[in-house]
Amino acid sequence: MSECIGACLACEGRCCSVYIVPLTGFDVWRIVQAQRLAPELFIQREPEDYPTPAGFLLRPGGPTFAIALRHQYDRRNERPCIFLLQLREGIQRCGIYAHRPLACQTYPMQLQLAGVVPRADMLCPTGSWMGIGERPDEWRERLVQQDSEWERYALVVQAWNTAVRTRPADAGYVLDQYLAYLVAAYDTLNALTNQPLATPLDATFAALANAWTKID
């Protein structure tokens, strides 16, 4: 579910049950802060079909992974998002609306040369987004923020991967360790935004990644 302009009113929240929602480190950090939830409770790992700059390793030379929101553990058949609320009368709403991931905030729009346009494969009922022309700037702002968060996330991931690659070939890590690193990295980034940079960012990430990858 994305923009609160009433477009989703008549929809049963299709996008929240069908997709695997990809997360940046920032999405994770924000949900952890707001909900005081351990990240491994709401995150699952997904093997990447092909390696991307934001794909993380769990062992040197191993496959790369992405992180995504889990589905509800007790409603396996329908696979709704772990945060989707089922109200009465078939109505569904996001239970972390204010802190929902960027992917959810921007759905179903994408940024193209022509500007903000709905995705060709969107699941929304016909006519839902008739009003989109009215607020293109808000969509653009979120889509741009999403792009820059993915870039920042790729840097955080690369610092981790570099540290993992220097480890013995049989050293393996579990998802929880990677997630703990992520939260620590974004805590650091958040603190840095309030002060001038003392050490270069790369060095900061490298130190963090090394600290976490030593826990076996």
Binding site: Q33, Q35, R36, L41, L87, R88, R93
Partner: protein, 202 residues
């Protein structure tokens, strides 16, 4: 940066949220209005009616001679799990979170505080099984302010319910649904909010 008051942190860090399964939460008309308008959902999608206590002076009549009712947050049961508030997100067994965040009803926000004739007390029916609460853990001024707001909203609700009940009683054959009453409540609150805003700028 997202910050939480200390007692909210304590509340958030309780994983099981038994209070959200065991308690009957009666939102105020203001709570209902805030949730319905912010989430764009009809009130009947998250409310149920429960019999009002015999001595309550704010029970809602749905027909001239029917038993008065109160509105409470609906519950949802799933296979193998006890019914819990519709807004409770079940993350894993014994781990749950409220899906309303700062929109949650005043009695939930003030929990486990209650007002005892102007004095702040800990509720006796808090339902927690592994921790006991003490007043020192609460942000007392904040909780007292929430309870005062709740009392003010309930006083306004009482007036609205009396008007509604008069109307219902004046027509012997009338019969209304929960959704009808909710519609009336929302209409009245929207009008009052508009008035309050106009009054504030005048």
């Amino acid at each position: 940066m997202i910050t939480h008051p200390d007692h909210e942190l304590l509340w958030l860090s309780c994983a099981a949220k038994r209070c959200c399964s065991l308690r009957t939460v009666r939102p105020t008309g203001g709570d209902i209005w805030r949730i319905a308008t912010r989430l764009h959902v009809p009130p009947e999608s998250f409310l149920r009616s429960i019999p009002a206590e015999p001595d309550a002076d704010d029970g809602v009549l749905l027909a001239p001679t029917s038993q008065p009712v109160h509105l409470a947050l609906a519950r949802r049961a799933t296979k193998g799990r006890q019914a819990a508030c519709v807004f409770l997100m079940h993350i894993r067994e014994e781990v749950a979170r409220c899906g309303l965040g700062e929109l949650r009803p005043l009695p939930c926000q003030a929990f486990p505080g209650r007002d005892a004739c102007g004095t702040l007390r800990i509720r006796e029916d808090h339902g927690c099984t592994c921790r006991s609460w003490n007043l020192a853990e609460l942000d007392r001024p904040a909780v007292a302010a929430l309870l005062a707001q709740e009392a003010a909203e309930r006083a306004r609700d009482r007036q609205l319910v009396h008007l509604w009940n008069e109307q219902v009683k004046s027509d012997e054959g009338s019969k209304y649904s929960l959704a009808d009453f909710c519609g009336y409540l929302l209409y009245a609150y929207t009008a009052q909010m508009a008035e309050a805003t106009a009054g504030g700028t005048a």
